[in-house]
C-alpha cells in the first residue's frame, strides 16, 4: 500500500491575515527591470517629484512647469523619481542540518521565507525563490499575488537531502556568482557553517541587501546530552567523540554564541538585518515583535 505523503502548505490561511497590509522594507533602493511600486534613484515617471531642469526639445510638455514659464519666461521641466520593481531573492537553506528540531528548522524556514516572499509579491516585487544546499534549477521570477501558490508549492516540495550536496557557504557563493539582480536577499537558514560569514560578505559585495533569519532549535541552543558520545555531523563533516559533561556543554554553548555573534556582526556590518528565531516561536508574535520592530517589514 502506498501512502502518499501529503505536504502541508507553509502558510496557513490565518497567517495571511497577519501579513495583509505589510510590505518588505529594504534600506537600499535597487534598480528594477519593469515598472513597479518601488522608487528608484533613476528619474522617471511617477507622482514622486524629484527636481527641475531646463527644457530641451523632445521633452514631454505635460511636465513643463507653466507657472515658472509664465512668471520668469524660462521653460523648466519637472522631473520625477521612477518607480520600479524590487528583486527579492528568497533563499531557503535545505542542508541536512535543517531537518533537526520539532517542528523542523526547514519547516520553519519555509514558513518565514514564504511569508516574506508573499510580502514581496504583494508589493509588486519580483521574487526569486532559490534553495540552498541542493543543486536544482532555480524558479523563474514571480510577480504579483497570483504567483504565490507557485512559491508555496515550490517551498512545500523542498526537503533536506540525506547527505549534504553543497554546503551552505558554497551555495551562497554560487548564488553570489550567478549574476543575479541586486536586491533584497532573504536567507532562512540555521547558519551552521563555519564559512558562513565569508560567504555573506561575498553576497553583500554583489550589491545585495541581506535579511538573515537564523533558525535554531532549542536542542541546539541548550543541548541536553549525557555520557560518552560519538557525534555524527549532519552536514557530513568529521565525527566528534565527546564526553558530554558540564564543562563540554558549557564550551559548546560558548562556541555557538560566539559563532552566532560573528554571523550577526557580519550581517549588520554589510548593512543587512539579522534575527534569531526558534521553530517553536509563535509566528504572529515573532512577526510583530521582532521583524516589524526591526523594520524588516512595515
Amino acid at each position: 500500500v502506498l501512502v502518499a505523503e501529503v505536504a502541508t502548505p507553509p502558510l496557513e490561511p490565518r497567517d495571511f491575515r497577519v501579513l495583509e497590509g505589510l510590505r518588505l522594507m529594504p534600506r537600499k533602493s535597487f534598480g528594477g527591470r519593469v515598472r513597479g511600486e518601488r522608487l528608484t534613484k533613476k528619474k522617471g515617471i511617477s507622482i514622486e517629484f524629484a527636481d527641475y531642469r531646463e527644457y530641451t526639445d523632445g521633452d514631454d510638455l505635460r511636465h513643463l512647469d507653466w507657472n515658472v514659464l509664465a512668471r520668469l519666461g524660462v521653460p523648466v521641466t519637472k522631473t520625477y523619481r521612477d518607480e520600479e520593481d524590487l528583486a527579492v531573492h528568497v533563499l531557503i537553506d535545505t542542508s541536512p542540518s535543517m531537518s533537526f528540531g520539532e517542528p523542523s528548522k526547514l519547516d520553519c524556514a519555509k514558513k518565514y521565507a514564504c511569508a516574506l516572499g508573499f510580502l514581496g509579491l504583494a508589493g509588486g516585487d519580483a521574487v526569486y525563490p532559490r534553495a540552498l544546499g541542493v543543486r536544482e534549477r532555480p524558479l523563474p521570477s514571480l510577480r504579483g499575488r497570483s504567483t504565490f501558490p507557485r512559491l508555496s508549492h515550490w517551498a512545500e516540495k523542498l526537503e533536506s537531502p540525506e547527505e549534504n550536496g553543497t554546503t551552505l557557504s558554497a551555495s551562497l557563493r554560487q548564488f553570489a556568482g550567478a549574476s543575479a539582480r541586486a536586491g533584497l536577499v532573504v536567507i532562512a537558514s540555521d547558519g551552521l557553517d563555519p564559512e558562513i560569514t565569508t560567504a555573506l560578505r561575498i553576497v553583500a559585495g554583489r550589491g545585495h541587501e541581506i535579511m538573515f533569519l537564523q533558525i535554531l532549535s532549542q536542542v541546539e541552543l541548550d543541548p541536553d546530552l549525557e555520557g560518552d558520545l560519538r557525534l555524527i555531523d549532519g552536514e557530513g563533516g568529521s565525527p566528534a567523540e565527546i564526553t558530554a559533561n558540564g564543562a563540554v556543554l558549557r564550551e559548546y554553548v560558548e562556541r555557538l554564541e560566539s559563532h552566532n555573534a560573528a554571523l550577526r556582526d557580519t550581517v549588520m556590518r554589510v548593512g543587512g538585518r539579522y534575527a534569531l528565531v526558534r521553530p517553536d516561536d509563535p509566528f504572529e508574535k515573532f512577526l510583530s515583535h521582532s521583524l516589524k520592530r526591526q523594520r524588516w517589514i512595515g
Binding site: G234, A247, Y252, R255
Partner: protein
C-alpha cells in the same frame, strides 16, 4: 627502605598493565546525529571501555588509578623504614643507678640523662612495642614488666632512684634476660656509664644487647681513705685523696673533729695520683669528718668521709671461705661491716681487719682483733680438736647475749667437729658430740662453731642472721651504738621490735615497721647523715660512698658481658612499618579519583 614481603611487588606490573590495557581498549560510544560538529569541543574522557584497542591517551583518572594500585601493592609488600631509636618490638631498659651515674659531666647528671633517654625511648615506641624497665641498683628490681602502656612506663621511670653505692648491673642484666630471653627479636638496652664490675655468667638468650654510654668525662677527686690509729704519739688521723681523672686537679680538704675544723689543706693531685696526710687528732673526739672541695669535681658523693673512733662502729671483716653465700649475706646485712672475701689468710696475718671469719678453712693465728671460726679448729682456736663427727644432735645452750634469739634445737648438722673447750673459753651450746658454740675473751675475742653452715641447715633457720649479728656485736667489742657508719644502698638491720623512724637528708622521714625482732632499714641510698630513732634513742647514721670503682667515673666504651664484649652504640636502628600510611594514602587517592570521576561524568 626494605620490604618485608617483597614478593607482593611482583603483582605490580601485571595489575598496572591490566589498567593500561583497559584504557587502551577503545570505547564504544553512543552515536548521535547532530546538525554540526564543528561547534563541539574535541574533548573526551575515557571512563568506560569495552572493545577494540586504541592509542593510549593521557587521562588523569588512569594516572590516579595507577597511583592508587601502586600504593596498595606497596602497602601489601610491607615496606619498612630504618628508624633511629632505642626501642624495639620488645625492649628491656636497664638503667644503671650506681653512684658514678651521679656524675655531673652531663647536666644535671648522668642518671637524669639516662632517665631522659628512657623517656624518649618510651615516647618513640610504636603501637604494639613492649617495654620493661629494670633499675640496676644495689639490688636489681623490675619497675615495670613488659608493657605497651606509655603512662605506666612513665610512672615507672619516675620511681627510678639513684644510689650512692655500687650497683649489681650483672644481676639487673640477668633479670632483663630472664624477662625477654625467650622473645624473638628482643632487645636489652643498658643505659650506663659502664662503671661496674665485669659481668660474668650472663647470657642474653635470643635477645640482643645494646649498650648506650652515658657520660663523657673522668674528672673526679675523691677521699680515698680516712682512718684513725693510736700510736705512742697519740691518736693519728690519716687522710688520702685520690685523683681518678686523667688530668691534674686541685682542691681544698678540711678535716673536722666532732664538728670542729682541725686542719685544712689546699692540694694539687696529679692525674691518677694520690695526696695523703697524717695529722694528730684529738684523742677524745668521736667523729672525724673530711670534706673535699674541688671546682671541677664531677662526683660530689665521694667528697666526704667520716671516721668513727668507737671500735665497734665499723667492722672490717675478712671472710676466709671456699664460698658461702648465706654467710656473706648475713655478714653484709650488718651496717658496720665492710666485707672482704678470700680463700686464704694473708701472710701478714690481716692486721687491718677487725674480724677474720674462717668458714671451713682451718683457723690459723691472725693479727685481727677477733676471730669467728666455723667447723675448722686450729691451734689458736678456743677449743682442742678431737676428731670429725657426723649428725650430732643439739642438746642445750646457755643464756648468753650471743645466743639471744637463736634456737639450735631444729638445726640439722650433717658433719662437724668433735672438740674439747680450752680452759679459757666458755661453752655456750652443746650437742651430742660435745661443745658446739664456744667463745673466748683470752688474747682475742673468738667464737668457735663446731660445724660449717653449709654442712647444716642452719642458714635456712631464722636464727642464723641473728646469730651472726650477735657474733659481730661480741667480736666488735663494746662500741658506741649511737653512731653508725654504713654504705648507702645496702639494707641493714637494727635490733628493735618497735617501729623506728628514719630522717633522711633528701627523701623525708620514714616510719619503718619491724620484722620479727629486728628492723631492716633499706631507705639509706644516698650519701649523707641520717637520723634513726630506735626505742626513743637517736642514732646518727653516716652513709658514705667509699668505692674506688665508683669513684673512677671514666665512661667505658666497651663492656664485658659474659663472654661477649659489647660496644657502645650511639644510634641503634630498627625497622618501622610503613604500610599503614601507604594504605591511607591509597584511599585518599581513590577518593580523589572518584571525586574527579563524578565531577567529569
Amino acid at each position: 627502605m626494605i620490604f618485608q614481603n617483597a614478593a607482593q611487588l611482583l603483582w605490580l606490573l601485571p595489575l598496572l598493565g591490566i589498567i593500561v590495557i583497559l584504557y587502551l581498549l577503545k570505547m564504544k560510544r553512543r552515536e548521535l546525529r547532530v546538525p554540526a560538529t564543528f561547534l563541539w569541543p574535541a574533548r573526551t574522557e575515557e571512563i568506560r571501555a569495552n572493545s577494540l584497542f586504541q592509542r593510549l591517551r593521557f587521562s588523569w583518572l588512569m594516572i590516579l588509578q595507577l597511583l592508587a594500585l601502586t600504593l596498595i601493592i606497596f602497602a601489601l609488600a610491607r615496606p619498612q623504614t630504618v628508624q633511629k631509636g632505642l626501642a624495639g618490638k620488645v625492649t628491656v631498659l636497664v638503667l644503671d643507678a650506681s653512684a658514678s651515674m651521679g656524675a655531673t659531666d652531663i647536666k644535671p647528671n648522668r642518671f637524669e640523662e639516662a632517665k631522659h633517654m628512657a623517656e624518649a625511648t618510651v615516647a618513640s615506641a610504636q603501637t604494639g612495642d613492649r617495654i620493661a624497665i629494670v633499675e640496676a641498683g644495689p639490688v636489681p628490681r623490675v619497675l615495670c614488666a613488659l608493657s605497651n602502656d606509655p603512662d605506666r612506663l612513665r610512672r615507672s621511670l619516675d620511681q627510678l632512684e639513684l644510689y650512692d653505692s655500687e650497683s649489681d648491673v650483672g644481676g639487673a642484666m640477668r633479670l632483663a634476660a630472664s624477662l625477654v630471653g625467650s622473645e624473638q627479636s628482643a632487645r636489652i638496652v643498658l643505659l650506663s656509664d659502664g662503671v661496674f664490675e665485669p659481668i660474668a655468667n650472663f647470657a642474653p638468650g635470643r635477645a640482643s644487647v645494646l649498650y648506650q654510654t652515658v657520660g663523657k668525662s673522668d674528672r673526679n677527686l675523691a677521699i680515698d681513705a680516712l682512718g684513725t690509729s693510736d700510736s705512742p704519739k697519740g691518736r693519728q688521723l690519716f687522710c688520702d685523696v685520690r685523683n681518678f681523672g686523667g688530668e691534674a686537679m686541685t682542691g681544698t680538704i678540711t678535716v673536722f673533729a666532732d664538728g670542729k675544723a682541725i686542719d685544712s689543706n689546699s692540694l694539687a693531685v696529679e692525674a691518677h695520683g694520690h695526696w695523703g696526710k697524717t695529722i694528730a687528732a684529738p684523742s677524745d673526739a668521736k667523729v672525724f669528718e673530711a670534706k673535699l672541695e674541688c671546682k671541677d669535681d664531677l662526683l660530689p658523693a665521694d667528697n666526704r668521709a667520716v671516721a668513727l673512733t668507737s671500735p665497734g662502729a665499723s667492722l672490717h671483716v675478712l671472710l676466709v671461705t671456699h664460698g658461702d653465700l648465706f654467710l656473706e649475706r648475713a655478714l653484709a646485712l650488718d651496717p658496720r661491716v665492710t666485707l672482704d672475701r678470700t680463700d686464704s689468710v694473708p701472710a701478714d696475718g690481716a692486721p687491718t681487719y677487725d674480724v677474720v671469719v674462717f668458714d671451713g678453712i682451718q683457723q690459723v693465728p691472725v693479727k685481727s682483733r677477733s676471730v669467728l671460726t666455723f667447723g675448722a679448729a686450729g691451734s689458736s682456736s678456743p677449743v682442742t680438736l678431737v676428731g670429725p663427727t657426723t649428725g650430732p644432735v643439739f642438746r642445750s645452750s646457755e643464756k648468753d647475749a650471743l645466743m639471744n634469739g637463736v634456737d639450735l634445737q631444729p638445726v640439722y648438722i650433717g658433719n662437724g667437729e668433735q672438740v674439747k673447750a680450752k680452759p679459757t673459753s666458755v661453752v655456750l651450746a652443746e650437742s651430742s658430740a660435745g661443745p658446739t658454740v664456744v667463745e673466748s675473751l683470752a688474747d682475742q675475742r673468738q667464737i668457735y662453731v663446731s660445724f660449717e653452715p653449709m654442712k647444716s641447715d642452719f642458714p635456712l633457720q631464722v636464727g642464723f642472721p641473728i646469730f651472726i649479728a650477735n657474733a659481730l656485736d661480741f667480736l666488735g667489742g663494746e662500741g658506741d651504738s649511737s653512731r653508725l657508719a654504713v654504705k648507702p644502698g645496702n639494707p641493714f638491720s637494727v635490733a628493735s621490735s618497735l617501729p623506728v623512724t628514719l630522717v633522711t637528708p633528701t627523701d623525708g622521714t620514714f616510719q619503718i615497721q619491724p620484722t620479727g625482732p629486728s628492723v631492716i632499714v633499706r631507705q639509706v641510698r644516698r650519701a649523707g647523715d641520717y637520723k634513726l630513732t630506735v626505742n626513743g634513742q637517736d642514732r646518727t647514721i653516716y652513709a658514705m660512698l667509699r668505692s674506688d670503682m665508683e669513684s673512677d667515673i671514666a665512661p667505658k666504651a666497651t663492656l664485658s658481658l659474659g663472654s661477649v664484649a659489647v660496644q657502645s652504640t650511639k644510634a641503634p636502628a630498627r625497622f618501622g612499618d610503613f604500610w599503614r600510611p601507604a594504605l591511607l594514602l591509597s584511599l585518599l587517592v581513590l577518593s580523589f579519583e572518584w571525586w574527579l570521576f563524578a565531577k567529569r561524568s
